[in-house]
Symmetry: C2
Subunit: 204 residues, 2 copies
């Protein structure tokens, strides 16, 4: 229901956002269960409880949907970084909240989807570009967070700053793989060593 | 060509091993390019240059082939650990050869295959069991390597030993994901920080 001048009202745009989210949730579930190629638009439509025609109002292809999943993932990462930016002591907050980051990494359902998207990006140049762009934005913001968090300490050389950020992300990403390979991993023991590792990566 | 008593001769078994490897290489390539579900036995047969009937002498299904890939991967990991066990100073060797481990992690072709196998294991209970068993064996051997490497130092509590091993593997596994997300990562800078991180995980 568009306004008379055909510009969307805020009610329309919030409804559209919620429909988009509904499609992305359904697609995420289908891609996870059947793989990107195994999941059809009909599966997504059934899971979302929306007609395929209705879905095409928001996304014109499965490629557009998987792209939407990458963009949503970036927004979530940015929101996490934003909440750390707002903390009075950034590094303390990062180490303190390492359990939340670890729990996200140990969520095997979300990891299966992320890995499915990543594997598909190795076969789909357009998706790869989107994944690389999203990563560049997130990495730059994390580096900025670390730079600020170091406060008055001597600045790290740019290469080292990026390398530390890379290894910080690699550790959490690697835990996704660990959780899939070893369902019995000892979370409490890992959290303790993880916090020491973060402390050194950030404060040394 | 079996020997008269029908036991395979060493020539037969070495030929069989080489045919198996040929099938696994071809399948790895097909799974990487088309995904496990997208790749057919016909694709694997064409890529291997062997008839499907001949392949069925060694593997009775695509599931058996992907299982063979997991077992081969485990043998490779065990061989890497074995060469570290043979080093006069284990931890020095692990840190010194971190570049080789990192280069394996940055090989995006092999990572795409490993992630494809891992994602498929979330949908295939039998494959998941195989992945978990292989991981348990590799993790136990890595823990044993770290235990011995610590020599006369006070023994680490068992939980902490496993947690350190988990984070060591997570770091290298995470770099697989990083290389797929960020093709421009600075390998030299990362290697330097990685070596510091290994030093602390092993020696602290």
């Amino acid at each position: 229901m568009a306004a008379p001048d055909n510009k969307p009202t805020s009610v329309d745009s919030s409804r559209a956002a919620s429909r988009c989210a509904q499609v992305l949730d359904a697609a995420a579930e289908c891609f996870r269960l059947k793989g990107f190629h195994g999941a059809s638009m009909a599966d997504i439509s059934r899971t979302a409880g929306m007609s395929a025609g209705h879905i095409y109002n928001y996304f014109d292809s499965k490629d557009a949907i998987i792209g939407g999943i990458v963009k949503r993932e970036l927004r979530e990462i940015m929101a996490n970084i934003e909440s750390l930016e707002a903390a009075p002591d950034t590094f303390h907050a990062m180490i303190e909240h390492a359990d939340e980051g670890m729990n996200r990494s140990l969520d095997t359902r979300s990891s299966a989807l992320k890995l499915e998207v990543l594997v598909e990006s190795t076969r789909n140049a357009e998706l790869a570009t989107l994944v690389h762009e999203a990563d560049r934005a997130a990495l730059a913001r994390l580096c900025e967070l670390i730079r600020k968090g170091r406060g008055d300490r001597p600045a790290l050389p740019e290469d080292e700053l990026f390398a530390r950020a890379e290894l910080l992300i690699a550790t959490f990403d690697g835990l996704r793989i660990r959780a899939l390979r070893n369902p019995q991993l000892n979370q409490d023991a890992i959290l303790q060593v993880l916090r020491q590792q973060l402390d050194r990566l950030l404060n040394d």
